[in-house]
């Protein structure tokens, strides 16, 4: 029982960041019909920027997190303007190939710039855990969960309550009608890709200090982000949050009670199952095969 409680806490913390990753990816797909292969690399980018700001420039930890996220937003906007804008109107496969190319460039640039040795990011949180009965958790992880939830909430408010959000949702639903109604779809695309990228960079900035920062840290995470959005239905925002937490719990409980060997495989097995039974995702709003 104690073990189950601990797994529940761990799974929640893990799920929060997975949700952050998933929502960025699914937003980009929903609005732009682009499968963002650079998502894992933006995660890595966010983590390395945090490392550079905290360890090399000696900036404040919290300020560094914010700056790393904003740099992620800027990189996302740059990718959109330089790469995706010229390819607007190209078929989905060409865009995917270009994105794979971009991911190769980003990952190898990280490897070249930072070398293969993984880095630790110092944090102002102490190394002693908070203890609540049978459960223990690091203050840093609680902070990460808190920020992740705040970002998810802020993102939801942005979509629901702002003009930009309404334009985004309109494009999400039907980009042609939206453009007829005066929404500048080009601008919305840039904003969407930048925000989605910023969320990935924020996830990296938050998790980099929890674990370690290495050039290949985005590989598995990128694949898992795919798993999350497939679970929730590609282009489904609430689905991505549910998918994120679902994957967090499945990995944590599957790893704890079934087998730690297969821990990272559970997510992928789940996808195959979901796609074999319900190809539209677990919580899809409507059938999407495009």
């Amino acid at each position: 029982m104690d073990q189950a409680l601990q797994h529940l806490v761990n799974g929640t913390v893990l799920g929060g960041t997975y949700a952050l990753l998933g929502i960025g990816l699914t937003l980009i797909f929903g609005v732009m019909r682009v499968v963002n292969f650079t998502h894992g690399e933006l995660y890595t980018f966010g983590a390395y920027m945090t490392y550079a700001l905290v360890s090399l420039l000696q900036l404040d930890f919290f300020l560094s997190l914010l700056l790393a996220t904003l740099l992620g937003v800027a990189l996302g906007a740059a990718i959109e303007v330089l790469l995706l804008r010229p390819l607007r109107g190209a078929d989905i496969d060409s865009v995917m190939l270009a994105m794979i190319g971009a991911a190769l460039v980003l990952q190898n640039a990280a490897m070249w710039a930072w070398g293969g040795v993984a880095k630790l990011v110092p944090t102002p949180f102490g190394g002693t855990p908070l203890v609540l009965g049978p459960v223990s958790v690091m203050p840093l992880r609680l902070f990460v969960l808190g920020v992740a939830c705040a970002l998810l909430l802020g993102f939801w408010l942005l979509l629901e309550r702002t003009r930009a959000g309404i334009a985004m949702r309109a494009t999400f639903q039907d980009s042609e009608t939206a453009s007829l109604m005066g929404v500048r779809v080009g601008w919305v695309s840039t904003a969407t890709f930048a925000i989605g990228s910023g969320l990935a960079a924020a996830a990296g900035a938050l998790l980099g200090p929890v674990f370690m920062v290495s050039p290949t840290m985005g590989d598995l995470v990128g694949l898992k982000a795919f798993a999350i959005v497939i679970l929730g239905g590609l282009g489904n925002l609430p689905g991505a949050v549910i998918g994120g937490f679902a994957l967090g719990y499945v990995e944590e409980f599957g790893g704890g009670f079934v087998s730690t060997e297969y821990r990272d495989a559970f997510g992928f097995l789940l996808i195959i199952l979901v796609l074999a039974i319900r190809p539209q995702g677990l919580v899809a709003l409507k059938e999407r095969v495009g």
Binding site: F29, R33, V35, L83, P86, L87, A90, I92, D93, S94, V95, M96, L97, A98, I100, G101, A102, A103, L104, V105, Q107, N108, A109, M111, W112, L223, F226, A227, I230, L234, E261, Y262, D264, A265, F268, L269, I271, I272, L275, A276, P279, R288, V289, G290
Partner: protein, 343 residues
Amino acid sequence: MSGLVGWAFVLAMALLPVVAPDPYMLAVLTSAGIFIIGAISLNLLLGYTGQLSLGHAAFFGLGAYASALASLGFDIGIGFGMRLRLEPQPVYVGFLSAILVAGVFGWLLGRLAFRIRGAYFVIITICFAQVLRMLALNWVELTQGPMALVGIPPFSLWWPGQGVVDLTSKAQTYWLVLGVGVLAFLVVRQIVHSRIGRALVALRENETLARSVGIRATHYLVIATVVSAGIAGAAGSLFAHYVRIVDPDVFLFIYTVTMVIMVITGGKGTLWGPVVGGLIFGLLPDMLRGSARPEAQWIAYGAAMILLVMFLPRGIVPAVAAWLPARRPATQALPTPVREGVG
């Protein structure tokens, strides 16, 4: 005409070990050739069915494991106290089982491809390779997991007058890979130029129209996927008996990406595209060895991919064919189905 050029190219490649018997060059070409065969098979999916399959390393890896396991033999428990046993088989049995196993999985993927398309299909193919990698890592009794299958026997071939002999020299292995490559090329050409090929292109260009005139989409897609997977399996088998070690990393996404780059550089949907692209990207890493860090090379390959998609979306072969209209009137690219009809 272009057929003659093609056979001249094959002849030149075949004479290479006699004219310039540099074992290192042959080793590099053999290794490149194996991936070219993979690229030829991927082209059938990517170029002719229009299905962006990013799990092609799965078929390659399945072939490698099937061939290695058949020639090494295995003895595993299958539950209820029963055991499944296979004595070590000759290498050609491994080769055939590689094609068979990869083909069966190709059939499954082909069935699936019909249910889900576009982005979903792409992601599921990636996950498919990933799941196989996890399986290969953890089903230790069968695959030796991360410890890899080692001691895989080299190629053997029945030779007139000598019976079954091991192919040990560099030139022999090179010729074998070249032979399989030519065979793979001819199989794909046969399919592309047949009724199946025309139906595939029709489906790629306008599925609704193609269906309305009675083309059985599932049927043709499945045939193409099975053939493509089978050839990739054959390439995997060659890889297993050439490198003589198979580890779960054969399922890595980067191997798929390597084949994808070969196909789109040369020109997807053209018969010679994967060969040209494959030669470029098969030989480049060895030519740049020592002069450019692998990271720099990968950055260049990634950038090349982006630039190709933007400025040369049909690849090198169609572009060159367009520049040399007098010399090579017949491009290898299939004409668009609108002119050709749908058969």
